[in-house]
Point group: none
Chain length 198, copies 4
DNA sequence: CATGAATGAGTATTCATTCAT
DNA sequence: TATGAATGAATACTCATTCAT
C-alpha cells in the first residue's frame, strides 16, 4: 500500500521545514558551535539520525537555515513601503509598526533578525564583503527612506547608511532580548523611531 | 637554589592576569563554546598546559574572566558622575563622552561590555537574577540620572530602568561592532544621547 | 520506524554488562591508573566513545565494576555452606574445593577476588571501613566456620578473624598468579587448607 | 669558596639515596603508573626538577629502584642460613624469625618485598623468564632448605619450588598489608611456618 | 645544585556522523 | 523513513620533562 508520491513529498517537505524552523531558533540562541546535534534533535523532538536524512551535515543545515532567512518576505514589504508616495516620517512610522507587529505575531521573526545580524557580523570579521544581499537590501531601502526624510527635514542628519545600520542594530538588540529573556519587555515605537526622527 | 618566593608569586600573578585578559578578548569574540583551548593558548602565546596551571578547566577560566569584569572600575566613574551637582543633561553628555573615550582608548572595554551583557542575557534565560551586581548597579545609576533628567524636563518620558537598559543595549551593540568588524565606525555622541534626551 | 523500546533496553543492558565484565578483568590486571581507555576499548572490541555512552567517566566505570563485584553470588554459596550441619573440617574441605573449582571454571573469579582485595587494602589505607560488606561478610562467615573448628579441635588456635583474613589473603595471592602469570600453577587444596587445619 | 669535591660527592650520594629509598616506598604502594612525579617529589619533600638532576626519567628511576632492591643483603643472610649444619626445621624457624624481625625493624623491607614480587609477576605476564636473579636465588635457597626438610621428614611433601613460592607469596601478602593498612596486624611465626612444616 | 613555572605529547572525554534495525 | 546505539576525529585535560633563575 504505497503512499502516493505527492503525499510522500509533502510529508518530506513538512519535516524538512520543521527542522529548518526549529533549528533557526536554536542557532539564534546558542550560535553554531554552541549547538549540539543531540540537544537540537531533542529540542525538535526527533531522533538525531533524522536530521541527517534531510541534511548532509550540521554545517549544511546551518547554511540552509541562513538561505531560508534570506528568502523571507520582509524585504518585499519594506521595498513596497519605501516606494509609496508618502512622507518619510509616515514610512518610518509604518516600518516601525510593522517591525513591532512582526515581533509580536511572528514567532520566528526574532530568530531571523538575530541570526541575520550575526551572519553580517561574522562576515565582517572575516573581512569578506560579499555580505548577504538580504541585509544589504534591507539597509539600502531603509537608507533611502532616511535620505528622503532628511530632505523633508523630519529625520536627523548624518550618514543615511550609518543611521539605517543603527536602526536595525536596535531591532537586533530586542531580538536578542526576546530570544534570551523569559519575561522581556519590547521596545516602544517612540523609542525606536527616535533613532531616526528629529 | 630555589627561586625567591616573592618573585615566584609575582611571576604567577603576572601570567594569571595575562591569561585572564587575553581570554576575555577571545571569549568576547568567539563565545564559550566557540573557543578552543588550543586556539586560545596559541592566541595568548603560551602552551596549552599553562592555562591549566592557573585554572582548573575551561569553564573555571570563563567564570574567572566574568568575575574580573565585575571588578572593573567603570562603575566607580559613573557612580561619581551621578553624584555630582550637575543637570542631568550634562551628566548624560559626560557619560556618553566617557563611554566613547573608553571605546577609543581602552582596548578591553568592548570585551568587558560585550561579555557582561551576554552574561546578563544568559542569566535572564535561566530566570535567575543573581550575580549581576555590576550590570544592575550600572543600570541603577543610569536610571537615577534619567529620573533626574525627567524631572528637569530634558529626558524623554518612560520607565527609567527600561531607558537605561536601552542605552546600555546600544553600547553593547557597538561593542559587538568593534569586536567583530574590521573597519567599524563608532556611533556618534549625538546618536547615542538621542536615546535619552528630548 | 523506531526501534522497539524493549529491544533497545535489551541491547543497552547487554552492552553495559559486556563493558562491565571485560573492564573488571582489565582493571584487575593493570589497575586503575594502568588502564588506558583506548587500550581497554580495543581489548573489549568496541569504540572509545561507546564506554562513555554507558559510563560518565573512567572513574565511574571503575566504581561500577566494584559495585558489580559486591553483588556476586559467591557469598551465598559460602553462607549456605556455613549453615550446614557438618563438622568444620568438612566445611573447610568444601570451601576450599569450591574456591579451586571457581578458579578453574569461572573466568572472572580471579578478577573478582583480586579487585576486591585491592578495594579492601585501598579502604584500609584511607582508614574508612565502610562499603566492604562483601569482603566483611565473606570473612565473617569464614571466621564462624573457623570458630566451630576450633571448638571441635580440628582448626589451629588464634584469632578466627585473623585466620580468615590469612586464608582469603592466600586466595588473593593465587588470583594474582592466575591473572598475571601465563602458565601459572594453582595451589593444592592441601596447601590451602593447612592454613586453617591442624 | 668551593666545597671540597669529596664533600660534594657525598652530598650528591645522600640525595640520590634519599630519592631512591622514598621512591621505593611510593612505587610499592602505588605502582609505576599510579605514581606521579609531582606527587612523588612532594612526598619526598623536594622539587620536581631535583629528581631529574639525579635520574634521566621516571622509568630510569624505577629501574634504579629495582636494582637497589636486588642488591639488598637479605639473600646473603639466607644463603648463609641454608649453608649452616642445622636441621631444616631450625633453619625455617630462623628464616621466619628473620623475616618477621625485618618487618618490624627495617622500614623498607615491606617495600622491597612488595616491589620485588610485583616485578616477578610483571615479568611472568610478559612471558620473559630473564627474571630477577634476586627472586630466583631467594626461591632457590628456600627450596633447598625445603628439600632438606622433606628428607628429614619435618616439611610437607610437594614440589619444593612451589612451596618456596607459596612461602614468599605469603610474605608478600603481609608486605602489602603493612604498606597499605594503617593498623595492620603482622602474621604470627607459627602461621607462616605452617605453610612448610608438618 | 635546586627549584617550580612552562611545555607538549599523551590520555580522557565529547560530539558530529554513520548505520543496522 | 526514523531511530538511537556505536563510532572516532576533534577537543579538553594531565603529567613527565625541560629550563631559566
Amino acid at each position: 500500500m504505497p503512499k502516493s508520491p505527492e503525499r510522500c513529498k509533502e510529508i518530506r517537505d513538512e519535516m524538512r521545514n520543521k527542522i529548518l524552523h526549529e533549528s533557526m531558533q536554536y542557532f539564534a540562541r546558542f550560535g553554531f558551535s554552541g549547538t549540539k546535534i543531540s540537544d537540537l534533535s531533542r529540542y525538535i523532538g526527533i531522533g538525531q539520525g533524522t536530521i541527517y536524512v534531510y541534511f548532509e551535515s550540521k554545517e549544511e543545515l546551518f547554511l540552509e537555515v541562513q538561505k531560508m532567512i534570506n528568502r523571507e518576505k520582509d524585504i518585499k514589504q519594506l521595498k513596497f513601503l519605501s516606494g509609496l508616495p508618502l512622507p518619510a516620517k509616515q514610512k518610518i512610522h509604518k516600518l516601525t509598526e510593522t517591525v513591532l507587529k512582526l515581533f509580536e505575531e511572528d514567532d520566528s521573526f526574532a530568530g531571523v533578525i538575530a541570526l541575520n545580524t550575526q551572519m553580517v557580523l561574522e562576515q565582517d570579521r572575516n573581512g569578506c564583503a560579499d555580505a548577504t544581499t538580504y541585509q544589504l537590501e534591507l539597509y539600502k531601502y531603509t537608507a533611502k527612506i532616511i535620505e528622503q526624510g532628511q530632505r523633508e527635514g523630519s529625520v536627523v542628519e548624518g550618514s543615511a547608511m550609518k543611521l539605517a545600520d543603527y536602526y536595525w542594530g536596535v531591532v537586533y538588540l530586542y531580538s536578542l532580548k526576546k530570544l534570551f529573556t523569559a519575561r522581556y519587555e519590547m521596545i516602544d515605537a517612540g523609542d525606536l523611531e527616535r533613532i531616526l526622527l528629529k
